[in-house]
Structures are given as C-alpha cells and as structure tokens.
Amino acid sequence: MFGALGGVLPLRLGGTATNGWTAAQHARVAADLVAVGRTTPIATFSFTKVGAAVTITDYRGRNGTGLAYAPTPSSIGNGHARFTWSLPGWENESGDLQPVVITGARLSAVFNGTDHISPGITWSGVVVDTYTESHGASGNGLVDVGGTVRIWGTVGDSARRAIGDYAGDPNKRDSTTEGTTPYADGILRDLQAQRGSAYSTKTGTLVDCENLALARFLAGVGPRNAEKYRANMFPGTSDERLPYWEKFLAVPFAADEPKWQRRQKLAAHYPVSEGPKIEVIRARCTALLGDVFVDVTTSAGADLANPPTLTFWPGINPGPADYDLGGGCWASERDHYFVQVQQPAGMTDGEFLQLVNVQLFRMLDDLLPATATFSWGIGGGFFLDISRLDFTGMTPS
C-alpha cells in the first residue's frame, strides 16, 4: 500500500512484506482470530474472601480490563462467594448491549495452610457462585479462601464468528490493480508532471497536500469506480449489487445474513454447470455449504447391465410393480445422491435448515437431471426415499 495514497478503507490486499498485506497473510489472521476467539475465556478475575468481605483484586474481561467492568462480589456464607453482573449483557465498543451466555467456569483456590482445598463453582445466568471446602488439619467444611475464576462463554454472536466476518474467503487473492501500487499514485505523478517545475513536489507542502487530495479523489471516482462496476458484474465479487444477483438467480436470503454469506451462496449458484458428475456435485456442495458439508455418496454400485431392484425405467426395466409410482416415472436408487452434512457449533437450527432445505435443495434441483433424486442427512445411517423401507415400512397398509 502507498501510505496516504492507498492506506484507506477498503484495504486492497497485496504489496510486499514491508509495505503491504497479502491475501495469504490476511487469511492467516482471519483464521487464527476465529480460532483463538473460540477457546479464549470471556473473563478472568482474582478475588480474596475474608469473612463477609469479598474483594475482586484483578479483572480482565472481553468487556474491558479493570474493576469497573467486574461483577459485584458478595458473601453468601462461609467459603461461599457470589459474583453478579448488573446487566445480562456487556456493552460493545459502540455501546450496544451484547447478551452474555456462560458456558463454562473454573475456580482455582489459593493455598490455605496444609489443608486440601476442594474448589467448586456454579453459575446461573450472569451470576457465578464459588465454593471452597477444606479437608485436613483444620477439619472439613467450607472455608474462606480466595482464588482465580475463569469463565468461558459467548458474548453477542461471538459463537457464530467465521472468517467471513473478517473478510476471509477461501478464494481471497491479492488485488491485481492496486495490490502493489494504488491508482492514486499514477494520478499524483501525472498531476505533478502537469503542474511543472514551478510547483513543489516536496512531501508535506501545501501543493503536495492539494495534489494528494486531488489524486485520491480522482482515483476514487475514476478507476476505482470502474473496477467496482466490473466486480459487481459477478456475484462472487459483488457488493452493492448483491440484491440484484439474489433476484436474478432466485436465491433467497435471511434478513440478518451477513454480506459474505450471501456472496458465498450466490457464487455457488452462479457457475454454468459442467454436468452432474460426482466431482462437480461435491465441489458445488462444498462451495455452498462450507463447514456444513461432509460428503456426497451414492449407494447402489456401477454395474450398468444389472440395475438395482428399485429402478423404474419404463419399457427397459419397469421395476417392482408394487412400488411403481405410476405415470411412467423414471427413478432409480442408483441415481440417488445422499449429501451428508453436519451442524457446526454456533449455527442455529434456523440457519442450518435454511441452508440445507432451501439453498441446497435449489442448487441440486437445478444441477441434477430430472431422473435423479437426492436427500440430506446428518451422519451415515440409512435413508428412506428410494428404498424398500420407505416403500413398504412407511406406507400405510
């Protein structure tokens, strides 16, 4: 990037190790940030307890560092302390309240003479209770000692964080237009040349500031705009034109769906089909489903001379008359595609079902020939649809 010429948002990926941020480096940042975000605690604090006096001595939370962000401590009884946040959520940088859900907690007690201290911890909502029980020379029972509490959980939609939230995408690449040199650089050189030697080109002068501002403006309304129009012509690189592509490709989306997810789905629906080969079906499912996708399998062999029993091919292999669907239907268990999927942690049922029941259905319906059938499921198991179990076991008699 080129300092004041290119160092503006949106960042154009590319450049060198010393003056840029490449797509590969950005991808590593996005992936690692998602990774540490999943396992890092949401809060850690230390406390002391002496009789009824419970004092938090240090607090670090995703909401902030310092006692101002800490829960209110109180003593419930001997060896039993309570920590309560006043609100069910924490404010983010913009002051919006983000709901907090505690999913795990751990207490480590401080040393108390020669006794064995059993620490215990429970929580309900945003109220955390700690217990410290002594076993040893001073007898058994709850005793007042301090400790360190570590809490895991979710803040707002943190559990659903994905690389796309940080502009990550498996197809991310360096910008071929501004990755090394921004448009504004060329325009600045032109402006300096046009103004001639009577005007200063020295950095920081009034003329230089004017040239820079003009160069950035012209780059923005000129070549950057043109590039933006080009990018919007394809769903995989589109931004403002996503609603158009959603209408054009008839791909539904949820109201709160982030742009990167909408773009990913549209890109999966967009390519001209290479034909319903198993490799193509796998690739398209991978592009659409991402982490949700596990595998696509077929189940009935490849012996073309001997089609499986439940093959309905009018005139050639009519199939069992008892199970005939009528109307000259063409279908075969060999031509059935089973998409094995999984619901990643953090994905809601609504999001998951929208993806597999709406997005996946629509894509496979377009991609596969009319004779093919398909279904999805979690785990290997067995499937119905075209099977004797479906025809006989599930049919009222």
Partner: protein, 180 residues
Amino acid sequence: MAIVPTGAPAWVRTTSFTHYGGSTEKENYLSRGAINALTDVAAEEFSRMVADLAAVARTAPFAVMRILCNDTSPAAPTVEFCSLMTGVRLTSYAGDAAPSGFPSAARVGNGIATVTFASSYVDEYGVSGAFTPKTALAGVHIGAGGTATVVISGQTLTIRSVSAATGLAISNARFTLEVG
C-alpha cells in the same frame, strides 16, 4: 527505520481496539464498500477484526505451563511444556536452567514448587511490556482426587499439589499452570 507498533504488548492488558486501527467512526473512503470483495477488506470487516482481537487479547492467558515436580531425587522441577505470549517451548527444561525468555521453577518441598516470571517481556517488534502475574489457575494431573492451589506473591507463584485422600502433598506431582 523499523516500525513501532501502537499501544503496549497484549500482556500489559491496556490495548484497545483503537490501537489496532479501530474507531467507532470508521468508514470506507468516499463511503464506498469493497471495490472487489475477493481482494479487499472493508471498514465493517476491519472493525469486527480489531474489536474481536482486543476482546481476546484482554482475556488470553500470558502463560500455560506443564510442570513435573522432582521429589524422589530432590531437584528443580522440570518444565515439560511452556507456552507464553512471547513464544512456545515444546521441549522440556530444568526449572533452574530456564532458557532465555522463559520462567524459572524451583522446588520448595514434596509437591510444592515455585515459578518465577520476569518483570517485563519483549514482543516481536522489540517493544517491552511490564508483566505482573494477577491471575493463576492450576490443575494437578492425578488419577484420583487432588487439587493444586496457587499463591501469587510479586513475580513468584507457589503451587502446592495436595491429595484429596490423604490431605498431604503429592510427591512428584505433575500439574498444568495457567497465568494471566
């Protein structure tokens, strides 16, 4: 001239999203989003990145260590694994011969060890940041009931591993220590 990062290293716990370039007023130049979504990072995505990074930097432990007490033939504990914000040591070292930049460990008695941290550490850019242990959690590795308790005193932590069955210290205890 080498660049100097803004703010202090993560373990000082003073970094905010603004040190990573975040601002609640952040916007795309000329209010225009990604020029090409496959090559760009827009203001919205950048803002999420710096806010999340600030959040995890506040709560991530500074050190996670696995330590084995040597009580049969009394000797300094063995630090079997040590992961610091400043680096990871996968091979073990004797607590009294700590490699540069890693904490030392000493034996106090059966199942009792101390771990001592430096008062400051240096990040990849050569920026030094003060470190004082404020939080510590320890878990003893034992196939029965047991507890490891920790006392923080300045730069030194004392960890005592105790058996639930006997209430006595566990000889040759192995424990995991997490320090913030």
